[in-house]
């Protein structure tokens, strides 16, 4: 029964009462989960508010001051409604799909470093883990669309699956360009590399950290990543799976109450995840933009959150003022523009790095 003790120590250990050797994973995980869900509630509200502001509306403003409690009211509304399962649906798969979506998008957050050493699991292949988890996200959509046993959800699911699989390829190549510069798959290493090398360091002004970040040397990749991230998370202007003018609500047509809530939750958490990925890969993660006293007094977690919110603001603005793409146009920019561009830049970048010797080399050299 040795393993029970080890497992209990890892999960429930409390140094406070003298039992166990480490702070239990469950406490850290629960704290992280609650913080993430509250962040999601307000990001959702911000999304609606920004959208409303662009259209000169007020947006949600009734529940709580400035509508601050709107997301929680929506949550209660969804939970207390009756879930309707279509008669011809495959019940188990139908209910499994939203769970898988929510679970996968939550589980990707385990490896995200909020601050130096603040990742729940600081694994060596962190970025590959995130890539693997987000490539599984397509199953929630396909299963939901198929199990509904209805036309619109099925068409929506097919579109969505094709879209997510195509844009994953270009996202993969963009990630590879960053990895070539860093020489490590660890997310914390990627952030540290952006603090320690780059334009500002070579110019002799290492305190101008924001010039060090990868958005500057890898600017085309940054743009491709931002656009592909929208397609990957089915956000407007690429929200074809739920294009309400053609497919009613896409793969979610037959879903109601809590299962629908789980789909929504999974989608928004995946969006925040993409914002966090942009922050880590291109915007220096938790490092402050200028490494001088008034700025570096602010804790890294605050900088991380600010950057995530700034990237999300871009997501929300794009939703508000870019019209939806047609399906063939979406596929064209995915396969004919982004894929060749990112593939060529991987090759070119590899040559440049090899010839100039630039790069962080995993912090070894």
């Amino acid at each position: 029964m040795d393993f029970v003790v080890t497992a209990l120590d890892y999960l429930l250990g409390i140094p406070l009462f003298g039992w166990g050797t480490q702070v239990g994973f469950i406490y850290k995980g629960l704290l992280f989960l609650v913080a993430l869900l509250i962040l999601t509630a307000y990001i959702l509200l911000a999304d609606r508010k920004i959208w409303a502001a662009v259209q000169i509306r007020r947006g949600p403003n009734v529940v709580g001051p400035f509508g601050l409690l709107q997301s929680f009211a929506d949550l209660l509304k969804f939970v207390f409604k009756e879930p309707v399962i279509p008669a011809g649906a495959d019940k188990i798969v139908f209910l499994l799909a939203p769970f898988i979506t929510a679970l996968l998008s939550l589980s990707a957050w385990v490896v995200i470093p909020i601050d130096a050493g603040w990742a729940l699991a600081n694994i060596n292949v962190g970025i590959l883990y995130i890539f693997a988890i987000s490539s599984l996200g397509v199953y929630g959509v396909i299963m939901g669309g198929w199990a509904s046993n209805s036309k619109y959800p099925f068409l929506g699911a097919l579109r969505s699956a094709a879209q997510m699989v195509s844009y994953e390829v270009s996202i993969g190549f963009v990630i590879i360009t960053v990895l070539l510069c860093v020489g490590s798959l660890n997310l914390s290493d990627i952030v540290i590399a952006q603090r320690e090398m780059g334009l500002a360091t070579s110019l002799g002004v290492p305190w101008l950290t924001f010039l060090n970040w990868f958005w500057l040397p890898l600017f085309p990749m940054f743009v491709i990543f931002l656009i592909s991230a929208r397609a990957e998370t089915n956000r407007p202007p690429f929200d074809l799976p739920e294009a309400e003018s053609e497919l009613v609500a896409g793969f979610m047509v037959e879903y109601s109450s809590t299962p629908y809530l789980l789909f929504m939750l999974g989608e928004y958490i995946a969006i925040i995840m993409m914002c966090a990925m942009t922050t880590i890969l291109f915007l220096g993660g938790w490092t402050s933009p200028i490494d001088l006293p008034p700025f570096n007094w602010v804790p890294g977690a605050v900088w991380f959150l600010l950057k995530v919110c700034a990237v999300f603001f871009m997501f929300a603005m794009v939703k508000a003022f870019v019209p939806r793409y047609r399906y063939d146009q979406l596929m064209r920019i995915g396969w004919k523009t982004f894929l060749p561009l990112s593939l060529v830049s991987v090759i070119v970048l590899a040559f440049i790095l090899q010839l100039t010797g630039w790069g962080w080399h995993g912090g070894v050299a």
């Binding site: 393993f3 497992a7 060596n124 883990y129 693997a132 599984l136 798959l185």
Partner: protein, 204 residues
Amino acid sequence: MTLPLFFFYVFSTIAVISALMVISSRNPVHSVLFLILCFVNSAGIFMLAGAEFLALILIVVYVGAVAVLFLFVVMMLDVDFAGLRHGMLQYAPIGVIVGLILLVELLLVAGGFAIAPDIASSSVVPINPGIDNTRALGQVLYTRYVFVFQGAGAVLLVAMIGAIVLTLRHKQGVKRQDAGVQANRRVEDAMEVVKVKSGEGLRG
């Protein structure tokens, strides 16, 4: 029993049960979903063996891409699966032979390790235990086996081109969008401002 051993039993039990469900469930979509479950659990076993790179690549490639295509095909083809099941006995001997060959090969590999444990250390490229396995794989693949590796890539590329050529149809008379033409279109090319006198029309 240690914690890794416990997890090994969890992963392998689920993997074996889901592998059985793949061939025994009646609904082909359920079969593919069980196949995915099996893949994910095998990735878990890879992870326990310390091969975290292989585990995640297994998920990215097989679960994230190949199984999605399986699911696509199974969902969209209206195959008469009852009819297929009817002729199953006919194919059983071939299946049994392939299964037996696989079993013997697996026994040979496992037996090799059991009889001579030093066989792993006698490999041509000794792996430095100090570096993580992503780096170790890269150092072997891109140095010693670079031509084999690139050759495998070329074979896959040719297969892909072949598939595209087989399915490509050039339909006549289909209007296609050319983004370059659209972007280069100017007001002068598209519109003509004409002063029309009243009562005469353009030609008049």
